[in-house]
Symmetry: C2
Subunit: 211 residues, 2 copies
């Protein structure tokens, strides 16, 4: 079982590392971090780079592919080397997955047309434009296509996948070992729960930023 | 405001990246990843390396220091370059923090003696041996010393810190933007909640592994 995590410039680091931390504990799985070139790939905050140990050409038949989101999503969507690679490996995957706006990159590769999928709450419309049926759930399964909502939701997606692949006890063990017993001190993690003026502020700022 | 995240061989990647993803969004903050040498530092699963952009000698006065845990904790605890650096920078920090068994590294530096602190649920006794008052909470504040439980708990710690540093609205905005609205499909994230036979299995395996 090989898990391939795609890295591209200005990806959001937790989108990749959250699900990796849990999924990578699947017994017998090998995880590879994949980039256009080998070497450090810098995340969206600029202060952290993760190392791609393999190039796209070196990873041809992963069982699971995971695409993180981030402000670099637009460049990744427009990058034929990336979208062609995604279409090619998708032909052989057991699971094709994304976190946050990674779904837009899968969508740009043509992999989500007519499928139920989710993304960051600020990007539902972008996902619809790519032909997906955008769903406001935290983790969405449509056949082998599994998409998660914003950033931290990849951790929940990983637990769902561990359960499907290795059974409930494996997933529960990984949850216990990573002590994933969330106790956020605020209840503002979705647009339905956060103070309305904050939701509006971020909608406005996103609209302004994306023109 | 400078946030320094310590990296050492065989650290647990989510311990570092979880809180970084949230804390790094503090307006005006600069985050630096720090290692004994510049360059890639490989995490405990072997398949992911994060890049240290600075050496210990290059980071002398961070406002916040964050120490992740992981199987490399024992080597880090025995490494005088690391423990001396921690004692030195701690003299000037506003917040000295750890996730998971990162608390043991702080403890080995002598920084938690007589203080209330937490760590991974399998490591409470190791923390007591270092003179700390081990507390079974997810996030523990004792003055400027802030410790979080296993792996994923660093995300909760970051929200607490964001609230203390920047106020509730900042913390809520970051929670909303990272869509931290946890919905794990199992409720097995602590030894009080997981199936008892799994808790016992991991206690036995840890005891066997540590002799």
């Amino acid at each position: 079982m090989q898990i391939a995590v795609l890295l591209y410039d200005r990806f959001t680091t937790l989108d990749a590392v959250g699900p990796y931390e849990l999924l990578g504990r699947l017994p017998g799985a090998e995880t590879v971090f994949v980039g256009k070139e080998r070497g450090p790939v810098r995340g969206d905050q600029g202060s952290l780079a993760l190392v791609a140990d393999r190039t796209l050409a070196e990873v041809t038949s992963p069982d699971i592919v995971l695409v993180p989101g981030g402000p670099g999503d637009q460049d990744a969507m427009a990058d034929e080397a990336i979208t062609t690679w995604l279409r090619t490996v998708d032909a052989g995957t057991t699971w094709t997955t994304s976190v946050c706006t990674g779904a837009l990159v899968l969508g740009a590769a043509g992999l989500l047309r007519g499928r139920r999928a989710t993304t960051h709450w600020l990007a539902y419309e972008d996902l619809r434009v790519l032909g997906a049926d955008a769903v406001k759930d935290r983790v969405v399964f449509d056949g082998k296509y599994v998409t998660a909502a914003g950033v931290s939701s990849g951790i929940d997606m990983a637990l769902h996948l561990l359960g499907r692949i290795g059974g409930d006890e494996l997933a529960q063990s990984v949850q216990l070992l990573t002590e994933y017993d969330p106790q956020p001190p605020y209840d503002a993690g979705s647009p339905d729960k956060a103070p309305a003026h904050l939701v509006e502020r971020w909608r406005r700022e996103t609209a302004a930023a994306t023109g």
